[in-house]
């Protein structure tokens, strides 16, 4: 399947600093269409029918998320755009913001209209501070053109909030804690954000890429969108490719495209040993399984693809991953806080050739305990690459 640009349609074509270039490509037509000719429920129904699922990695159905939000009797509601792109190997949101900030703003505007929110936040990671002016400028221009601010009988505004360096804040409940001015620690759930979110109000949190899909769905219709992709994964996905490839970068492909096509044909990897899909928390795919299609029903995550060539030590790679989690664990729950630390020690021993059979058992037991008992996605997903390495590359753990 060749590349297909929907989310990235305007990237490199419009001037991200000039709203007129976005308007000339049907920009904000979807928002106008919704506000003039559709009820909020119709917008939600359209998104539900499109089959769009969250692009931040978890794949929750977006329309359903919005609908849950409207079920709350509470009238003050919020939309949050999650631009805390911290997953190792992911840089698609950076690319989208850099090239088409207006598409995101239109998406947030549509989400706000659908759930009846008057306020939207963009939570931008501190590492992307250099994108802040671009975003704020885009918001300002949208306001001047009348797409934000006072609209009909209500108002809708967007504010940029910045993190201060914490991977965990990309997790939705930790992100809300951070906006509220607290340590970004994951919350116990339920209640979920559509019920008790930011400042305990109903909130919908969507990834940058998810929101960037919305204008296209509303403008061209759910039927058009749902033709693309697989049974359970509709539309396209934006992939970030790095590691041992000739052409690292951003690629947008229909859901269901085989991993091999993306890695070998498009980004031109040679002599590869394995690919990690979904960043540090993602699955490790050995070369012989490269024909796996990329979709929610198989393997996807947030679309980070890191490629490892034959001369790489898988233990070193996995160790780097776990060290990352040990550093970024928020420390609130024991399985994650202690588990990542112990794993990191064991992997260090293996990388020095000092691991033993018992260590392997501990790695496996710990992985299972963490996946079962951790409070949030960080601890639950951290052992993925450890377990996969034990299945596919056990011989490298030379004991």
């Amino acid at each position: 399947m060749p590349e297909r640009r929907i989310v990235l349609e305007n990237c490199g074509v419009i001037d991200p600093g000039d709203i007129n270039t976005y308007l000339s490509r049907d920009g904000f037509r979807a928002l106008e269409k919704a506000r003039k000719h559709m009820t909020p429920q119709q917008v939600i129904n359209e998104v539900k029918r499109s089959g769009l699922r969250g692009r931040g990695g978890a794949g929750f159905p977006t329309g359903l998320k919005w609908e849950l939000c409207t079920k709350s009797p509470e009238k003050e509601r919020f939309v949050i755009c999650n631009a805390d792109e911290g997953e190792v190997g992911t840089f698609k949101d950076r690319y989208i913001i850099q090239n088409d900030p207006f598409g995101i703003i239109e998406g947030i505007g549509l989400a706000g209209y659908a759930i009846g929110a008057r306020k939207g936040y963009i939570y931008l990671r501190a590492e992307y501070h250099y994108l802040r002016d671009l975003l704020e400028n885009a918001i300002e221009q949208a306001k001047t053109k009348g797409f934000l601010g006072e609209i009909n009988d209500g108002s809708f505004g967007i504010e940029v909030r910045e993190g201060a360096g914490a991977y965990i804040c990309g997790e939705e409940s930790a992100l809300m804690e951070s906006i509220e001015g607290k340590r970004g620690e994951a919350r116990y759930r339920p209640p979920f954000p559509p019920e008790h979110g930011l400042w305990q109000k109903p909130t919908t949190i969507n990834n940058v890429e998810t929101l960037a899909n919305i204008p296209h769905i509303i403008f061209k219709g759910a039927d058009w969108f749902s033709q693309i992709g697989t049974q359970q994964s509709k539309g396209t996905k934006v992939f970030s490719i790095s590691g041992d490839v000739e052409k690292p970068g951003i690629y947008e492909l229909p859901m269901g495209t085989p991993l091999r096509e993306l890695v070998e044909e498009l980004s031109q990897a040679k002599d590869l040993k394995a690919v990690q899909v979904g960043g540090a928390s993602g699955r490790l795919i050995p070369e012989e399984k490269l024909d796996t299609p990329l979709a929610f029903e198989t393997v996807l995550g947030a679309g980070a693809i890191i490629v490892f060539s034959k001369d790489r030590s898988i233990i070193q790679v996995v160790r780097r991953n776990i060290e990352f989690f040990a550093e970024e664990s928020c420390g609130k729950c024991v399985p994650c806080r202690e588990g990542t630390q112990v794993m990191s020690d064991i992997l260090r021993r293996f990388s020095l050739g000092q691991g033993n059979k018992e260590d392997l058992t501990v790695l496996e037991e710990l992985s299972n305990a963490m996946m079962l008992a951790s409070l949030c996605g960080l601890g639950q997903a951290a052992p993925n690459s450890v377990l996969d390495s034990l299945i596919y590359f056990r011989s490298e753990y030379d004991t």
Binding site: E162, G165, G181
Partner: protein, 179 residues
């Protein structure tokens, strides 16, 4: 700037950030003005915001962009996550270590540069990459890092001479370093 002036300025800023209910940005502002979050700063923020000192301290130690010890005027953050590791980020770190004679976590003697190792900065297509303050630098090699650092040293000298710099900031730093 005298301590009194600083507190006055913080009080004024505080009104703005309170209106937006944005504590994190306020702390960031204090951090920016003073270069780090001293025990006094933490107490100040706590009393201005009417929150316990413990809570503010908890915040400042949670986020990696906050520091409770003085940082250099320029903070170099080198990414050491997997994609940058694959592209030899260790060489970048070594180059900076050698140039400034500091270790990760350290500050140069003149207080001009800090070196930190951080998690993925989302520039994996340009690995190895680093941030200096808020600027992103990618596809780094030893030679490129040396050139960038030299440029910063030059900029630093110019900004002190020409703009009278941030006399305020310089003053603030001198005070910090004399402790």
């Amino acid at each position: 700037m005298s301590d009194e002036n600083l507190s006055l300025e913080l009080e004024k800023l505080c009104v703005h950030y309170k209106r937006h209910d944005d504590l994190l940005s306020f702390i960031k502002k204090v951090h920016e003005k003073c270069g780090y979050l001293s025990p006094e700063n933490i107490k100040n923020v706590a009393s201005l915001w009417n929150i316990s000192v413990g809570e503010i301290y908890g915040l400042t130690t949670f986020y990696s962009f906050f520091s409770t010890r003085p940082l250099g005027q320029n903070v170099i953050r080198v990414c050491r996550s997997t994609p940058c590791y694959l592209e030899n980020c260790d060489v970048v770190v070594e180059t900076i270590e050698k140039k400034f004679n500091i270790r990760p976590g350290g500050v140069t003697e003149d207080g001009k540069f800090s070196l930190q190792l951080i998690s993925c900065i989302g520039a994996c297509d340009q690995a190895p990459a680093m941030l200096i303050n808020d600027e992103l630098y990618g596809n780094l090699t030893t030679r490129k890092v040396e050139a960038i650092l030299k440029d910063y040293e030059k900029r630093q000298a110019n900004s002190f001479n020409m703009r009278g710099c941030d006399a305020r900031k310089a003053d603030c730093f001198r005070k910090l370093w004399s402790h």
